[in-house]
């Protein structure tokens, strides 16, 4: 069995010290890795990224993250990335990583993504240069995640995003802001390339669960949506899946 812990939208500020460290206690014995779907910081201040790295000091699991829009706000995303990487965190923005666990390999492709809206009500690559630039950013993200996922091999394949690929996990947000919360282009890319799960954040009052039109599970792991510090996803496959299934059968 492979267990993935996931969360997003920690929004740590200088006033948040201790809050995330407290909830990580014991996680290293119940999960194989921790995936974070962006917005680790609140204002995008490098000092906030150091609050995060202080929180995970001594934490024993691999940590993989993408950055979110808040992490970009102060224009210090490169410095934030360096701070995280110096602390041993893998930061993905168009890249991928494979993490070997006792139960098998988790392959993660990650990118922030962007907005644009959903089928039938989405921004078009048309008109002013500014609008074309907006759409181009999303298209580039979609092409990147598709390319990364296509070349990934692992027992579990994860697409890690900040923005949402589908509308279902936005339910609860104001309809008017859907185009700023995600894009169908991300779902289309994931459906083409294939994945076992898509994790995202960004939509604080959205819903937890949905699927892409191609049937891939999508989970909004923003902490305000979860109501918990993180979610655990258990995949009954990989090197120890037979043992795990046997354990389950014995227990029942």
């Amino acid at each position: 069995m492979i267990t993935i812990a996931a969360a997003a939208d920690l929004h740590l500020g200088l006033d948040s010290a201790g809050s995330f460290k407290a909830v990580l206690e014991g996680l290293d014995s119940s999960a194989d890795l921790l995936l974070l779907a962006g917005d680790l910081t609140n204002y995008g201040d490098p000092a906030e990224a150091r609050v995060f790295t202080d929180e995970i000091a001594g934490f024993d699991l691999p940590v993989v993250t993408v950055l979110g829009n808040h992490d970009y706000h102060a224009g210090a995303e490169s410095e934030i990335r360096s701070i995280l990487e110096d602390a041993g965190v893998t930061v993905l923005e168009g890249e991928s990583v494979s993490v070997s666990c006792d139960g098998g390999t988790v392959a993660v492709a990650g990118i922030k993504g962007f907005g644009g809206g959903f089928a039938g009500a989405s921004a078009a690559d048309f008109g002013e240069p500014e609008m074309k630039q907006f759409v181009a950013h999303t298209k580039a993200a979609a092409e990147s995640i598709e390319s990364s996922l296509s070349s990934l091999e692992g027992d579990v394949k994860v697409a890690l995003l900040h923005y949402s690929p589908i509308e279902a996990t936005l339910r609860g947000e104001r309809l008017e802001i859907y185009p700023f919360l995600g894009s169908y282009l991300l779902a289309e890319a994931v459906d083409r390339a294939g994945a076992d799960i898509v994790l995202h954040g960004h939509a604080h009052t959205g819903a937890e669960r949905g699927t892409t039109p191609g049937g891939i599970p999508v989970r909004n792991v923003a902490q305000p949506v979860l109501g918990h510090p993180y979610a655990l996803f258990r995949f009954h496959r990989g090197r120890l899946s037979g043992d795990s299934d046997q354990d389950t059968a014995d227990a029942s």
């Binding site: 500020g13 609140n42 204002y43 902490q223 510090p229 009954h236």
Partner: protein, 87 residues
């Protein structure tokens, strides 16, 4: 300085939301704002008491005469995680 009531309500709401997003002490995009007369009501959830208080300070600087009704809750997360089994 513009006072609440001197401009259409829609603009006051927009200015407050913009200020709450831009101020480094709040950086909040998820606070809902309602304006009626000289009163501002804010709702939503933030992660710390400091940020809840900062919302009032930001609005107070923008509209010094505003009467602020702060209904923002500070997020409390259950300790136990959610668990989902996937095949």
């Amino acid at each position: 300085m513009t006072e609440l009531g001197d401009e259409p309500v829609e603009y006051s709401v927009a200015h407050i939301k913009e200020a709450l997003a831009a101020d480094p002490h709040t950086a909040e995009l998820h606070v809902e704002v309602q304006v009626k007369g000289s009163s501002v009501a804010v709702t939503g959830r933030v992660t710390t008491d400091e940020r809840r208080n900062a919302v009032e300070e930001v609005i107070g600087r923008l509209y010094p005469g505003a009467r602020i009704q702060n209904y923002i809750a500070v997020e409390v997360l259950d300790a136990d995680p959610t668990v989902e089994d996937l095949s």
